[in-house]
């Protein structure tokens, strides 16, 4: 396990960093909107990880082309399709969370979590 592996596989490292940042954001931020942004950062990290899993160095997009030379590598399309679903899910969760925050804002007049707890 050399450290240079980290440098070669830098998308994984970045995805882990994004995921941890997102988690930290969700758990520690007091502003509810920032929590939702945290969700999005976390999911972006996961999406990056998936796309990095499917990528092949020197691969071409997975569309059949008879002019390409024999034995060329295609990028794995399955993970991209999976992530398309993941993006839809993340989008709907974000929309739902924002709708609930709007409702909370009507009730309490603030989106700052400690204020809401104090007012309860």
């Amino acid at each position: 396990m050399e450290l240079s592996m980290l440098w070669v596989n830098y998308p994984y490292v970045i995805s882990i960093i994004l995921f941890s940042m997102g988690c930290l954001c969700i758990l520690t931020q007091h502003n509810l909107i920032k929590k939702v942004i945290g969700i999005n950062i976390m999911e972006t990290g996961i999406f990056l990880f998936y796309v990095a899993v499917g990528n092949i160095k020197g691969g071409v997009p997975p569309i059949y082309d008879p002019n390409l030379p024999e034995g060329i590598l295609y990028v794995n399309p399955l993970v991209d399709v999976l992530i398309l679903t993941g993006i839809v899910v993340s989008f709907s969760v974000t929309a739902f969370a924002l709708a609930i925050i709007v409702k909370l804002y009507y009730f309490y007049g603030t989106v700052y979590a400690p204020n809401i707890i104090r007012m309860r």
């Binding site: 969700i39 996961i46 899993v53 993970v79 999976l82 899910v89 409702k103 909370l104 309860r120």
Partner: protein
């Protein structure tokens, strides 16, 4: 006709989704029809689940390739003993909850939301059924998300300050959990290149020596991700607020069923995908055992200090989740079977208790457990059912809860770990300490001038409660068939 017979597992979910998507039409223009459509749909799926369970009981494992693509490429639906049992449990319990919500729903949620509530109800049910029968990792993720959003919607439907706040917390933590789950699935795909449970398992058995850390990370990601959603002890903080502030039918659904399908999925990931050896080798079994012990004690202690009835029931769910995980952690045939059996029995007990709490609130408007004096004579049928469910929670013989406690005790003897018997007995006493005062108050503190009146709640609310209580007693006296059925599932993976 043969074709229809083949596609039965898929039809199961399709019927509910169809009803779910036409429901907004009725919600908009003919609100009073919505409950009837819900009822008919659930009855149809209940029939299909019974047929499927009958086929599975005949020794068949039903597999169906969605859209005709065979397993390594397409999505596979697999109905084994555990899935079949869960299907019957889900449809039967949600049928009773739907009957209960007939005349009680409009008292708890805003009037214009009643039609839309059934959309959410059916969506959550469909996703739960999809979750227990799917045999594909990514399909599991999608279904988990749908269950999560549907369950959040069922809590927020009440439209009050508290439930809105609880929903946001639930949604945040559920999303965090499914993020962990998705990352874990990514790891597994990277290791094995497959998404189907069986293919991933076969590949893992071959290569697991090469990736010790990655497999350990994957397993802990799954444990945390599903643990947050299934409210395993230190990750349960969203549960009491969400379950106690929701409308009563939602509370029953959430506490009885939604939490359970995550456990069923987690147990499939542990035993089908990773296999029992990896589960033990990565020390994940001991972690589960440790967390489950914490859940049993912590949940009971927290429940003991709550004065709001629904909050007390919600914390009791945390403790009971601990029993289920304790069975898995013990890792013996009896332990795991008892854990799986507790999924059914706890669903029956918690649905009965939450529906009783809803009925008590409907008649008297009481939420505090200190105001129940003489209630046993004001609503005798509801309180009798409540008492049966409570006795079962404590683990009195002849009631369902006793069977699982007995099974867990046998399991801990099998695992050479008799200390867990002390834990089980202790938690039984704790359960008694927070359920018996309610019953004592209801029956024995009303003074001398007792007048007996029948419950003043609609019959549609009484029937599900009574049937659930009958189910608890049935499970306590004749648990043999279902135990045998589940044991078939367990011995295949040990």
């Amino acid at each position: 006709m043969d074709y229809l017979w083949e596609t039965l597992p898929f039809l199961l979910i399709l019927v509910i989704l169809l009803a779910c998507f036409i429901m907004p039409l009725f919600a908009r223009w003919k609100k009073e029809v919505a409950p009837y459509i819900t009822l008919v749909t659930i009855v149809i799926t209940f029939g299909i689940s019974i047929v499927l369970a009958y086929r599975v009981a005949g020794g068949e494992v039903i597999s169906y390739a969605v859209a005709g693509w065979p397993p390594p490429w397409g999505i596979e639906i697999l109905i084994d003993e555990l899935s079949a049992m869960m299907l019957v449990l889900l449809t039967a319990s949600s049928l009773f909850i739907a009957i209960f919500s007939f005349h009680s729903l409009h008292t708890e949620i805003p009037d214009q939301a009643t039609g839309w509530y059934y959309t959410l109800y059916l969506l959550t049910l469909a996703a739960m059924m999809g979750l227990v029968i799917s045999n594909d990792l990514f399909n599991v993720y999608v279904m988990v998300e749908v269950v999560g959003i549907g369950a959040c919607g069922m809590v927020v439907a009440k439209g009050e300050k508290l439930s809105t706040e609880a929903t946001l917390r639930y949604l945040m933590l559920a999303t965090l959990g499914s993020g962990f789950l998705l990352f874990g699935i990514g790891f597994l795909y990277q290791i094995t290149g497959n998404l189907n449970f069986a293919y991933v398992a076969a590949e893992l058995a071959r290569v697991h020596d090469q990736y010790p850390f990655l497999i350990w990370a994957t397993m802990s990601f799954f444990t945390v991700g599903m643990g947050v959603k299934a409210a395993l002890f230190p990750m349960h903080i969203w549960l009491p607020d969400a379950h106690s502030s929701a409308p009563s039918p939602s509370s029953a659904m959430l506490s009885g069923l939604v939490v359970k399908v995550y456990i069923v999925t987690l147990i499939k990931l542990y035993f089908v995908v990773f296999g029992f050896e990896l589960f033990t080798e990565t020390y994940m079994r001991y972690l589960v055992l440790f967390l489950a012990s914490g859940a049993i004690l912590g949940g009971s202690f927290f429940a003991f200090v709550q004065l709001d009835l629904k909050r007390r029931l919600a914390y009791s769910t945390v403790a009971q989740i601990g029993y289920i995980f304790l069975g898995f952690g013990l890792g013996t045939v009896w332990g795991i079977t008892a854990g799986l059996l507790h999924i059914i029995i706890h669903a029956l007990m918690k649905v009965c208790l939450f529906l009783s709490a809803g009925a008590i609130y409907y008649q008297t408007g009481n939420k505090k457990v200190t105001h129940f004096s003489g209630l046993g004579y004001k609503m005798p049928i509801v309180m009798a059912s409540f008492t049966i469910a409570s006795l079962s929670m404590v683990g009195i013989p002849l009631f369902g809860g006793f069977i699982t406690k007995y099974g867990l005790a046998l399991g801990s003897l099998e695992a050479n770990n008799p200390y867990f018997i002390i834990l089980i007995v202790l938690s039984g006493l704790l359960n008694a300490a927070y359920y018996f005062p309610i019953i004592w108050q209801a029956y024995f503190t009303s003074g001398h001038d007792i007048t007996m009146t029948m419950d003043a709640v609609p019959k549609t609310m009484l029937v599900p409660i009574v049937l659930m209580a009958v189910g608890i007693i049935y499970m306590g006296i004749f648990p043999g068939d279902i135990l045998f059925f589940l044991e078939h599932f367990v011995v295949r993976f040990l």
